[in-house]
């Protein structure tokens, strides 16, 4: 059957309004739950860099959130290691809400750098680990993660990497605990305190790795290089902050 143009225009307009209204309702209604999911995801990734993953996997959502509130204290610093407290609009700056991707697109000097401090379970004044976010490029798309440094700011306590589109079975292995655990106990500074970072070497099953090297992933050399760059870049961005922590010049660390 052939309808008039007016009918067709009227029908599509009505459809657009109904569909649009429905979707905006859904988007509004689900926004709080979505925000909570994203928050939970960020927080469990941060915890995963210092905690045993199998233990973390047994936690419920609420346990993860309360664990996070109890053990993690966050702050944001700039490239000079000074604490930033206000966001652009003048409101309080929340470290968990700093978007690493958006900051990555700015010049390193203008970026904000969140720090998540993992407090000792018995003595909240003592910091067990400093957790730093990482961001970089893999072979196909972005890679990101967290690295946790022990209180000496030299020894790696743990890492958590994730990726968007690395090759399954090859580069995608950076997301597995098997690869991430290789970093535990490695040192980022040389004897005289200069940053050398930790490098993933080419090939797998290498013998005689130094404390600045981890075994590579066979077939994923470029992803490995991406991880190396990401780690070295971000560790260097936090250099001033580390110096301030070491010299004790930050009142409440």
């Amino acid at each position: 059957m052939q309808q008039s143009n007016a009918y067709i225009i009227g029908f599509t307009a009505a459809l657009t309004i109904v569909v649009g209204g429905l979707l905006s309702l859904a988007s509004q209604g689900l926004a709080p739950a979505q925000k909570k999911s994203v928050e939970l995801d960020t927080k469990s990734q941060i915890l995963a860099s210092v905690m045993d993953r199998e233990e973390l996997a047994t936690f419920t959502k609420d346990q993860i959130l309360s664990m996070y509130n109890e053990r993690i204290e966050s702050l944001v610093v700039d490239i000079n290691g000074s604490i930033v407290e206000k966001n652009k609009k003048g409101g309080p700056l929340v470290a968990e809400e700093v978007n690493i991707l958006k900051n990555y697109k700015k010049d390193p000097k203008d970026r904000l750098y969140p720090v998540f401090k993992y407090k000792n379970a018995d003595n909240p004044q003592k910091i067990d680990a400093y957790i730093l976010p990482l961001y970089g490029a893999g072979l196909w798309d972005k890679i990101w993660g967290y690295v946790a440094l022990k209180s000496d700011l030299n020894t790696i306590a743990g890492t958590a990497f994730d990726h968007k589109a690395e090759t399954p079975g090859l580069g995608a292995r950076i997301g597995s605990p098997e690869i991430q655990n290789r970093y535990v106990g490695k040192k980022i500074l040389d004897g005289s305190g200069n940053l050398v970072s930790v490098n993933m070497v080419k090939g797998e099953g290498n013998a005689g790795l130094t404390e600045h090297q981890v075994d590579g992933m066979s077939g994923a050399t470029i992803t490995g290089r991406g991880v190396n760059d990401m780690l070295e870049n971000y560790l260097s961005y936090y250099k001033s902050y580390f110096e301030k922590v070491n010299s004790g010049s930050l009142a409440n660390l």
């Binding site: 309808q3 067709i8 029908f11 979707l23 689900l30 999911s37 995801d41 399954p168």
Partner: protein
């Protein structure tokens, strides 16, 4: 899109009191499960069958999402079939499908963020899944709502069981597990050699090919 337009549905003149599950209506559900399967016979929706079937869990979520979208878009289009202007019907169908898909994706993001991260892009691509649009154009535009729901269920489950079967073998052989449960370690085989090919899309082609082979040998279906 050529095969499914051939099997244009005939609108049969129905008796006023047709049984709730008459023989014809049972066939609406059972045909797409085997003899007229959307993936293996009509060869539609292959892309997602390859992409999401690495593991069982995301595949199950994807199946549920597709069944939901097919059933409800079939229902909505069937209810509106007499008022949809025929010249813009494809756009109207698309708008309905896109709305449902967006809803699924938003709900996943809110309540199963892990799955949203794995499936994100593919859930969005349900819009372009030819099975959905194919059923709307070939069936829902010309049939009553109840029949359209049955047709949607049939096609949805036809799609679901195939991708679940593919995912079962891919996860079993590629990761040595089922629903992330390490099955070989549980029965005492500690170093089961997992096959990297199965983790890749190529594995899905191989499994899908074998399933189609077995099925067509049994049903005797031949491509025209």
């Amino acid at each position: 899109m050529s095969t499914e337009t051939l099997e244009k549905s005939e609108v049969t003149a129905k008796l006023p009191t047709e049984e709730l599950f008459s023989k014809r209506r049972k066939r609406l559900i059972s045909d797409p499960l085997n003899e007229d399967n959307p993936i293996t016979i009509q060869v539609l929706g292959i892309c997602s069958a390859l992409a999401v079937t690495v593991k069982m869990e995301p595949t199950l979520i994807m199946s549920i999402a597709v069944v939901f979208v097919i059933v409800f878009s079939n229902l909505i289009i069937s209810v509106m079939r007499n008022v949809i202007p025929s010249r813009v019907r494809i756009i109207v169908q698309l708008a309905v499908v896109a709305t449902l898909v967006t809803l699924v994706s938003e709900v996943l993001k809110a309540y199963s963020y892990e799955m949203y991260k794995v499936l994100g892009a593919f859930v969005g691509l349900i819009i372009t899944n030819c099975i959905v649009m194919g059923r709307l154009e070939a069936f829902a535009m010309g049939n009553k709502p109840y029949d359209s729901i049955l047709d949607g269920l049939g096609s949805g489950f036809g799609y679901a069981w195939i991708i679940l079967a593919v995912a079962f073998f891919r996860e079993l052989l590629g990761s040595g597990s089922v629903f992330d449960f390490k099955i070989f370690e549980a029965v005492g085989i500690m170093n089961f050699p997992t096959n990297g090919l199965m983790v890749d899309s190529i594995g899905a082609f191989v499994i899908l090919g074998i399933i189609i082979w077995i099925q067509r040998t049994k049903t005797g279906y031949i491509e025209h």
